[in-house]
């Protein structure tokens, strides 16, 4: 584990308590981290494929811890209180669209992205780190 990754992991510990608390609410057993597959790199320079997207998001500080927790809390609440039978991916899709409508967006290297999708990517990164 290199120094950079250790540093990030130290930060992780203080991060999304709420998110982790709610993680059990994720629907279905296919939510295991391994199911997410390998995390993508993102906007990295050539030959920097090891730069993970989540890490990029994380380090870019586009979301404060508070925002991150708030967005993820909203996500987990939505999972928890969704309509019976509603699929998680549809819930995420709805949340993401609502973000765009409500201007709950972040700009990362020019990309206009929903905070929910960014938070999920960060969570993804954190869980796999």
């Amino acid at each position: 584990m290199d120094r950079r990754r250790r540093k990030i992991l130290c930060g992780v510990i203080t991060l999304p308590g709420t998110a982790l608390a709610f993680s059990a609410a994720d629907k279905g057993s296919d939510l295991a981290v391994s199911k997410w597959g390998s995390l993508p790199d993102y906007l990295g320079k050539e030959n920097e494929s090891s730069v993970l997207m989540g890490k990029k998001y994380y380090e870019s500080k586009v979301l404060s811890q508070c925002e991150f927790q708030e967005v993820l809390s909203n996500y987990y609440r939505s999972i928890q209180y969704c309509q019976p039978g509603e699929r998680t991916v549809n819930i995420v899709d709805r949340l993401v669209r609502d973000d765009f409508r409500g201007n709950v967006v972040v700009n990362i290297d020019g990309w206009v992205l929903s905070k929910t999708e960014v938070a999920l990517c960060i969570r993804n990164f954190l869980q796999s780190a």
């Binding site: 994720d26 629907k27 279905g28 296919d30 939510l31 199911k35 997410w36 597959g37 995390l39 993508p40 790199d41 993102y42 906007l43 990295g44 320079k45 050539e46 997207m53 699929r87 998680t88 991916v89 549809n90 995420v92 899709d93 993401v96 669209r97 609502d98 973000d99 765009f100 409508r101 201007n103 967006v105 700009n107 290297d109 020019g110 990309w111 206009v112 992205l113 929903s114 999708e117 999920l120 990517c121 993804n124």
Partner: protein, 522 residues
């Protein structure tokens, strides 16, 4: 009758009812309205029927403002005028382009879109177009569906492509066959002379490159020289008024603008080929007509956010071409491909929450250019008094001062463009169409160098306003304070919108012709 001005006797005096100076879109349209009436008309054209460099060189001038094309190549000086290099896209101004918008200084026309509607309709056949309107909803069919935005913040708008776009070639025979109309070639207007009190034009002096000179005396004079040259001729005609004809209030040449097109403002990645997007990135044929679609912010959004108009276009551009555009910020050549595949991964991650959903985009198309679009935009420019055309010390072969163009675009335009693009980006996300990357941000240099160019839509300089203190011409295009001088063309536009101006130029010319006919008939 066709007359080469170089062949008529030196110092001739030609008497007529109406003298139209300039045979471009406006001048030819005006002339056609008088054809085969009992009104005697002279149509005066500087060039011949083809491009002649000595004549074209008369357009030379200098630029000191926002980047612009060389003045002698940004317009065409022979029969047909600038329609000789026009792309043929017809689109009316929007309703709100005519309105006074309190967040845009000096905005608004003294006429409304409603006033011009009959003439817009009458202009359609001039371009060989039918009576179909410009609401893209009405053009929808099984073979063409608009992209739907759920929140009514983004609308689709359109232009119609015309076949009859080279007015000189299309209308030459008709004009030459008209018994009451004389067409003079190689006739360069060099001086408009007014009565001593400056309230009436008594003659216009013409010169030819072969040395010939002559005069036209008319009851009514219609200037149709184009967005730059109308101002130049008025400013240079300073025999009675030292600051130039009709320039008592120092307005001639001011409030100049063009549209500016930014070709590379960002890109849009869509998860899967969206058939409706295919109607937006190129001209398409619908019901036998050629049209093009683009996006605009809804009028209510522009009002709420106090924005200028922005016309957003998308076009398919291969990643390689995109990443190699020298005007773009430096990125590595595989950047776009990486982004495409990474966004793909984002959604794969999200989809991975459950088993793959067939209705959920699982791929952003890998490296397929079918799902990648570059984003460009035409921007509206704020009318500015200091954005202007003025005479400089250089002179052409007739001794007529050349012009300097000082076109101004400032941060207001940048703010409007960025805000409009952000709305577009959010709506693309909100409607599940894809994701947008914007290359222009607050730190970006301005002028933005990402593939931009002026639209060759020269407007302003003799703007229309009810008050002589704020405009050169009134709502009938009559020059304030001068009984028999009118101006046709885009130089009268007081506010510019984003629409290609030719359709509006022709509609205004049709309206002006009606007005002059009324006056001529007493």
């Amino acid at each position: 009758m066709l007359i080469d001005s170089g062949d008529i006797p030196y110092d001739s005096v030609i008497n007529t009812d109406v003298c139209i100076v300039g045979a471009g879109a406006a001048g030819i349209t005006l002339a056609r309205q008088f054809a085969n009436t009992n009104i005697r008309v002279c149509l005066m054209e500087s060039g011949g029927f083809n491009l002649e460099l000595p004549t074209q060189n008369l357009y030379k001038g200098s630029n000191v403002g926002w980047p612009y094309w060389p003045l002698d190549s940004s317009r065409i000086r022979f029969f047909g005028g600038t329609t000789n290099h026009w792309g043929g896209n017809c689109i009316p101004l929007n309703d709100d382009d005519f309105e006074q918008r309190d967040w845009i200084s000096d905005s608004g026309w003294p006429i409304s879109k409603t006033d011009l509607e009959p003439y817009y309709r009458a202009a359609q056949p001039v371009f060989g177009l039918g009576q179909e309107g410009y609401d893209p909803v009405e053009w929808q069919s099984d073979s063409m569906k608009l992209l739907e935005f759920s929140d009514d913040l983004i609308t689709s708008n359109m232009f119609q492509g015309c076949e009859a776009k080279r007015f000189g070639a299309v209308y030459r025979a008709e004009l030459l066959a008209s018994s009451n109309l004389d067409t003079y070639l190689h006739a360069n207007a060099i001086d408009i002379q007014s009565s001593e009190n400056g309230k009436e034009i008594v003659r216009i002096k013409f010169a030819c490159l072969n040395g010939n000179r002559f005069t036209v005396n008319a009851k009514t004079y219609l200037l149709a020289l184009g967005g730059l040259e109308n101002s130049r001729l008025l400013l240079a005609s300073n025999g009675v008024q030292p600051k130039g004809l009709a320039n008592g209030n120092d307005l001639v040449g001011r409030y100049f603008s063009d549209h500016y097109y930014f070709a590379r403002l960002g890109l849009m990645v869509v998860p899967e080929a969206n058939p409706n997007l295919n109607y937006y990135h190129k001209k398409i044929r619908v019901s036998g007509r050629e049209i093009g679609l683009h996006f605009e912010l809804a009028s209510a959004v522009k009002k709420k956010k106090k924005l200028l108009s922005t016309r957003i276009h998308i076009s398919k551009v291969p990643w390689r071409a995109y990443s190699h555009d020298p005007g773009k910020p430096a990125i590595n050549r595989d950047f776009g491909e990486k982004v495409a595949s990474k966004l793909n991964s984002v959604w794969q991650s999200l989809s991975g929450l459950e088993k793959p959903n067939k209705n959920r985009p699982e791929s952003y198309g890998e490296l397929s250019s079918a799902n990648l679009y570059s984003i460009g935009a035409w921007i509206e420019v704020n009318p500015r008094k200091d954005s202007r055309v003025y005479l400089n010390d250089d002179k052409d072969v007739f001794g007529m001062p050349r012009i300097t163009l000082d076109w101004i675009i400032a941060n207001n335009e940048k703010r409007s463009l960025m805000t409009s693009l952000n709305y577009f980006a959010r709506q693309v996300g909100a409607n599940g169409i894809g994701r947008v990357r914007l290359d222009l941000d607050e730190q970006s240099p301005w002028p933005w160098q990402g593939g931009g160019e002026p639209g060759l839509h020269q407007m302003g300089g003799t703007r229309m306003n009810d008050s002589a203190l704020k405009g050169v011409v009134d709502k009938h295009c009559k020059v304030h304070g001068i009984a028999n001088l009118y101006i046709a063309g885009s130089s009268v536009f007081p506010t510019f919108g984003t629409a290609n101006p030719t359709l509006t130029i022709v509609a205004l010319a049709l309206r002006l012709a009606d007005h002059v006919k009324e006056i001529q008939s007493g």
